[in-house]
């Protein structure tokens, strides 16, 4: 389990004239849960977008399972085994809950297995089962978030990236979501997690990176970061 599945070297990227990431290097080992924390605007989401190919990197290199994915478009990144649950839910508003879930399995074949996965998600989030025919755009914020998480799980990735999955979820659902994330990690899926709920994220992760102003300024085991004075002050409210 010591193999690096995801290796990122000196990645720089941005939007138009803005540079959002100023040279990021990070490694994610197989089967680990890696957390990425940082303040608003630090570049966490951009990092995930760069990995999944939504924002093309300007320089640097990315490898997944030894294969170069630098500059690959999202479908290829997904096909190579990386799923991305984006920030801000991003459900397809005029499609039903069920169709949204099916979109998550777009690249998969075999309707039987897909249906089984869908049912598993309905068991995890019974609320979604109640609303399976409702247009996703009319769901409440938290319901949409559950849907976004479920949809990302539908692709059965080997590496899954969550961008603030707890956003807008009720405490009991946050608990369940974190349990799910731990569960898939335990089942062998690698996880890259961006969370504002830094305490919870650091507590459950195997390794963590702290991002500030588009640079990685700190990394280590989750518990190490929790102990860190700067992290406590700036991110844990202590």
């Amino acid at each position: 389990m010591e193999r690096d599945v995801l290796e990122i070297r000196d990645m720089v990227c941005g939007y138009g004239g803005v540079t959002a990431l100023r040279g990021i290097s990070l490694d994610v080992k197989a089967g680990q849960l890696v957390a990425l924390i940082g303040a608003n605007g630090a570049g966490k989401s951009t990092t995930l977008r760069a990995i999944s190919g939504l924002v093309p990197p300007r320089s640097g290199q990315m490898k997944f399972e030894g294969i170069d994915i630098t500059g690959a478009r999202p479908p290829r990144v997904l096909a190579s085994g990386i799923a991305h649950c984006p920030e801000g839910r991003r459900v397809f508003p005029h499609m039903s809950v069920e169709e949204n879930l099916d979109m998550g399995a777009y690249l998969r074949r075999g309707s039987g297995e897909i249906a089984a996965d869908r049912d598993r998600i309905y068991t995890e989030f019974p609320r979604l089962a109640e609303r399976r025919r409702q247009a996703a755009g009319t769901l409440s914020g938290g319901e949409q978030q559950m849907l976004a998480i479920g949809r990302a799980l539908m692709s059965r990735p080997r590496l899954i990236m969550f961008d603030e999955p707890s956003l807008g979820l009720a405490p009991n659902i946050v608990e369940r979501t974190f349990a799910i994330i731990r569960g898939i990690r335990d089942a062998g899926t690698t996880v890259l997690l961006v969370e504002q709920n830094a305490f919870a994220a650091l507590e459950m992760c195997d390794h963590a990176y702290l991002l500030e102003n588009g640079r990685i300024v700190l990394s280590g085991a989750g518990t190490e970061l929790i102990e860190n004075e700067h992290v406590r002050k700036a991110y844990l409210g202590g």
Partner: protein
């Protein structure tokens, strides 16, 4: 009474025509969000393909139809690749204007190549109409009605029941996220536009022989198509069909019982009235705030 029956039959035939005009546009305008001013040109294009294949090459009418559809598909794909793809992500008004430019240029090109004189296409259908009591209807138009119904059904199934259709809808609701789901959005853009275009060409190929074929024939068709698509709610195929029949009914009864000068006015008044009471078309999508 017999006049009324005849009007009703006309309405059915015309409504089918309108629905056919609407579905191609529902894809491109309703789902893809491109204000597609080339819809009318593609309609004209389909009709001219029929003219070339049937009248100039002397091939079979029924063989010409799929040729026209295919040609529409190709032209649509070409338009998307050359004109729309470079402007992906631009404002909807920018792409609209590019489509206006393409419309003007292509229509004039048609005029240049074929001249302004109207053409017509011979069909294998008998000239004598089908007479049922007090009403008569031409065989050709019955065929068009049947073909329209089939195309509408196929389109409906494609959009609502296939994974390609689902990917199309997803792409135009949020194309970044769709690509995260593994959708090849470039392919979807091109194929949606191409399918919509082939439907426009199909409408032209079917209706060209019913009417006559000339360079500006698509303009009126396009205006009606826009009205129908919006009346039925953007992207809603069932809505477009019902919208088509409502428009046909309004025009038919408007011309029959109000005044033929106000025939088209009736259609537009209905549109205004419907939108006053249902501001997002007959079949609005559910929306929420907050």
């Amino acid at each position: 009474m017999s006049e009324f029956l005849q009007h009703l039959v006309n309405m059915l035939v015309l409504g089918g025509t309108y629905a056919l005009l609407g579905i191609g546009l529902t894809l491109i305008f309703g789902i893809m969000n491109v204000v597609n001013f080339t819809h009318g040109v593609l309609y004209t294009f389909g009709a001219y393909i029929m003219f070339i294949v049937v009248q100039q090459l002397g091939l079979n009418f029924f063989l010409a139809l799929p040729v026209a559809v295919l040609a529409g598909w190709l032209l649509g794909a070409a338009i998307e690749l050359t004109l729309l793809r470079p402007l992906r992500g631009s404002d909807i008004d920018t792409t609209m204007l590019v489509m206006i430019g393409a419309w003007i240029a292509m229509q004039s090109g048609t005029l240049w190549i074929w001249g302004g004189v109207a053409k017509s296409v011979a069909t294998p259908f008998p000239e004598a109409p089908l007479v049922l009591g007090p009403v008569s209807v031409s065989w050709l138009r019955l065929f068009v009605l049947a073909a329209a119904a089939m195309l509408i059904l196929v389109t409906y199934l494609l959009i609502n029941k296939t994974s390609l259709g689902r990917a199309m809808r997803a792409t135009f609701q949020d194309h970044d996220t769709a690509s995260l789901m593994g959708v090849n959005v470039d392919m979807i853009y091109t194929s949606t536009f191409a399918i919509g275009s082939s439907l426009a060409a199909a409408a032209g190929a079917l209706l060209g022989p019913v009417y006559v074929i000339f360079p500006q024939m698509g303009d009126l068709a396009a205006v009606k198509a826009f009205a129908i698509v919006i009346l039925g709610g953007l992207g809603n195929i069932t809505g477009a069909v019902i919208g088509g029949f409502i428009l046909a009914l309004a025009e038919e009864l408007g011309a029959g019982y109000v005044s033929s000068g106000y025939r088209d006015a009736m259609g537009f008044l209905i549109i205004i009235a419907v939108l006053i009471f249902r501001p997002t078309g007959l079949f609005a999508r559910a929306e929420r705030v907050g």
